[in-house]
Amino acid sequence: MSIDLKYGVPTVCLHTSMFLTVTKSVVRMNGAPQMRQVYLPHPVMGKTHEEIKAYVFGISPVSGKSVMQEVVEGLTQPLNEQDRKGLTFARTTPRLCEPATEEALQQQFLDNNWTDKLPVVLPTLERVAAMLKHTSRKPDDVVGHHAATHFREEWECTVEQVAVNAVMAGARPEYFPVILAIASTGASARGSSTSSMAGMVVVNGPIRKQIAMNAGTGAMGPYNQANATIGRAFGLLSQNLQGGSVPGDTFMGSMGNALAYASPTFAENEERSPWEPLHVQRGFKADQSVVSVFIGMRHMAFTLGLRHAHWRDHLRNLMRGMDPNESPTFLLDPIAARLFQDVGGLKTKKDLINWICENGRMPAGEYWDYQLIQNYQYPRATFGEEPLASKLKAKPDEMIPMWTPEQVNVVVVGGETNGYWRIAGARLAASACVDDWR
């Protein structure tokens, strides 16, 4: 769009038909009533050269016209008045809904895609006011901006709007500073990626105990009100404060992701961890309360314990099961963390992270052939960005590292019922101090 709307070069955009609604919508949000967009059959990925050529030389499944005829016409047919004027409009968000019965309002929230399709706590004036009492911030203070994806418009949100979503999630008012801190990062638990991402939040510091969060047995499951409702609030505020998360428009995740119901939110088990907590690693003081927000979580791998003979092989196998474009976040029960020290000889978190980066390798030929690596890493490598550029020089059978230490995180969580550990494919997007929102 920039080439046409900003640089003044007549442009035609080629899309696949699956993206008809979203691409039309994005154009309108960028100030054009329509652009010259031509639609091909879907998908392109994985098709042979001959098949893709047939798409280009063939008929558009959207217009029924020749694809290239539309392309040529898109570059040469004169603009109409609307094209020359652009599209200017302002939308408003009313503070309140029209009064209605509880049943009607639940249906309205459902129909407007304001929920996660589960019943919500209706955000009455009294409930929202109670939430607002747990922050010193004013209701109309701006908390941050959210977007469903980088090419969509950013929406703005206030303290009161975050409170509304916190109420809907069932959060208790004393959780509110944590939820505000999450919202302030601008990270979305409802990213529009076709890969179907979920969010995750790790909470550190005194706030964990002040609001009775769970870092022990069942911390990542549905067994603690704070964990459960703060995570749900992260999901609801993401979708409502970014302008929606509607399949086919503001959400394009092909398969969906059950982890997105919860946006797993839990406290790190700092007391039972042999290592420094995540927020201290991130430069905060131990007595500060901090949220660390992860995005892009699609799955978790797991295993039990560290066996003396083959733990290295087991760990390498788990890592090879991941897409190398993911960022691994290791979630270790305290027993497992101590096993990494005692059996693995990895005395610090840094030792473990370095071991992961040194041993998480695959042949260069395989690495560069992953589709997501082609999409997101290969372009950067070809333009000289290190360390990717050096990786690109490796011979196809040379074992190259999948990750750098900056991409790897380690969090200790769990109640020591056994020494399980997991690897979540989740990228740490941002950390924010909860104390700033009290």
Binding site: L14, G31, R84, C157, Q161
Partner: protein
């Protein structure tokens, strides 16, 4: 009859959208330079090279330049856009999605 309730709207504030005109179109592509911009996503290179093949076959008077963007599609690429503005007459952007 159930009581009426007053509740908050949970949506955030959308930005104001300011209209932007489309770039003027060309009267003809013959003798013009058309950049084929590869967004480097899901085999978009094959897609754009097929577009190039179509021009070679059907409109040989059009000069095409295959141009991959400088990084990933999530990043703006002003250097490439500027090059197209200075050296090209039109662009076809292929997302390959």
């Amino acid at each position: 009859m159930q009581d009426q309730m007053v509740v908050h709207n949970p949506m955030g504030y959308p930005p104001k959208v300011s209209g932007k005109p489309l770039a003027p179109r060309l009267d003809t592509l013959n003798g013009r330079t058309v950049y084929l911009v590869d967004c480097r996503f899901d085999d978009s290179d094959i897609l754009l090279k097929s577009v190039q093949a179509w021009f070679t076959e059907h409109m040989p008077a059009v000069k095409t330049v295959y141009k991959p963007i400088s990084s990933v599609y999530t990043k703006d690429d002003p250097a490439t856009w500027q090059e197209i503005k200075e050296k090209g007459d039109a662009a076809i952007v292929g997302v390959g999605h």
